[in-house]
Symmetry: C2
Subunit: 212 residues, 2 copies
């Protein structure tokens, strides 16, 4: 083989090794203080480096925001699409969508929070790019709901759009309190699923008790 030393075009092979660490710090700071409330100095302090050193990794503060937001949405849409494609009943799929929507809070909470609250401050270009994912995910919820209505699983006449916005609002809000409240993601997801599917009311004296 003629792989003498190394493909000459990528000798160093890995540059900016700390890059992920840098955007993680940016996510933390943006989540705490908001994009405009945060300074690049704040981010540098978290990393223990000088403010100017950040620019070795990131071309601008806004670019950092975009990277953080991207990690905040990536996966959501793909995961959602996979769930919607399953052959399961709609109620099952909706539950899975809720779980899938809450899970990233565990390992990427700051990224999600920044995506939800700060994406409006992205430059128009990248905001549109990221908004596409958002709307895609909304459509997935709506489709699953419509499907459930068509199959008779869900009430006829319910407004799929409003229900979608309700469920997403409910889930997204979790990013702002899930650290303070001491509930695990599975417990939250279970309660939420049950809430939107079965509601809070006791069935008026008619649970399905095996049929006696």
């Amino acid at each position: 083989m003629t792989v003498a030393t190394l493909p000459p075009s990528r000798r160093g092979a890995s540059q900016r090794r700390r890059a992920p660490e840098i955007i993680e710090a940016a996510a933390l700071v943006f989540a705490q203080r908001g994009f405009h409330g945060a300074t690049t100095q704040d981010i540098a302090d978290v990393l223990g480096i000088r403010q100017a050193s950040l620019y070795y990794y990131v071309s601008s503060k806004e670019a950092a925001l975009e990277l953080v937001c991207l990690r905040g949405v990536e996966g959501f849409f793909e995961a959602g699409k996979a769930i919607a494609a399953r052959p399961d009943p709609a109620r099952e799929k909706l539950s899975l969508l809720i779980i899938s929507h809450l899970s990233p809070m565990l390992d990427r909470g700051n990224f999600v929070k920044v995506f939800l609250n700060e994406r409006q401050h992205l430059p128009a270009e990248s905001r549109r790019r990221i908004g596409r994912w958002s709307r895609g995910l909304e459509r997935i919820f709506e489709q699953v709901i419509d499907e459930g209505v068509a199959a008779g699983e869900f009430r006829a006449g319910l407004d799929a759009r409003l229900v979608t916005l309700a469920v997403l609002g409910m889930c997204n809000a979790a990013s702002s309190w899930y650290l303070k409240e001491n509930k695990g993601v599975p417990a939250i997801a279970a309660e939420f699923s049950r809430l939107v599917i079965d509601g809070m009311a006791t069935r008026p004296a008619k649970r399905p008790p095996k049929r006696r």
Copy 2:
């Protein structure tokens, strides 16, 4: 009587007549760009006055934020308390709470939005003061829910805290989309109430069909 001309301490009687207009402009700008993203120049532009003239009405940008936030919560708590005190069944009260929580969006949307998204940037002092109202309102929801469970109206075992956070999240999210979506507040409130009380699911072959 010696009230010769006028109570000397308040001769002019009404000063800063435009004050409400000024904080309305602040609410608009804070809602659009966020507290730190907004400049006092932006606010002045909306009013058609010079940036420095704002300081005749407001002692600082942060003070303006507090005024906006105050108008964003005021009323919520009082209205909620009145509803909780009614003799109606819990499901009825919960519906009213949802309506009451969505209504301010009509005439004070920007104030509510700013309260929800920007209160974190208030100086510690006023943030605590405002946080008290917030928590009070949460407690009202929780109590009504607990009450409903105790009365057998709501499922036993549901987590009042999580349900409260779900309902509030759902309602609060509306502040970010109710302008774009073309739904009236009553329609939204009705769909949301029905959702959390009855759920989406069709009753599993056992609506109360008169009993056959």
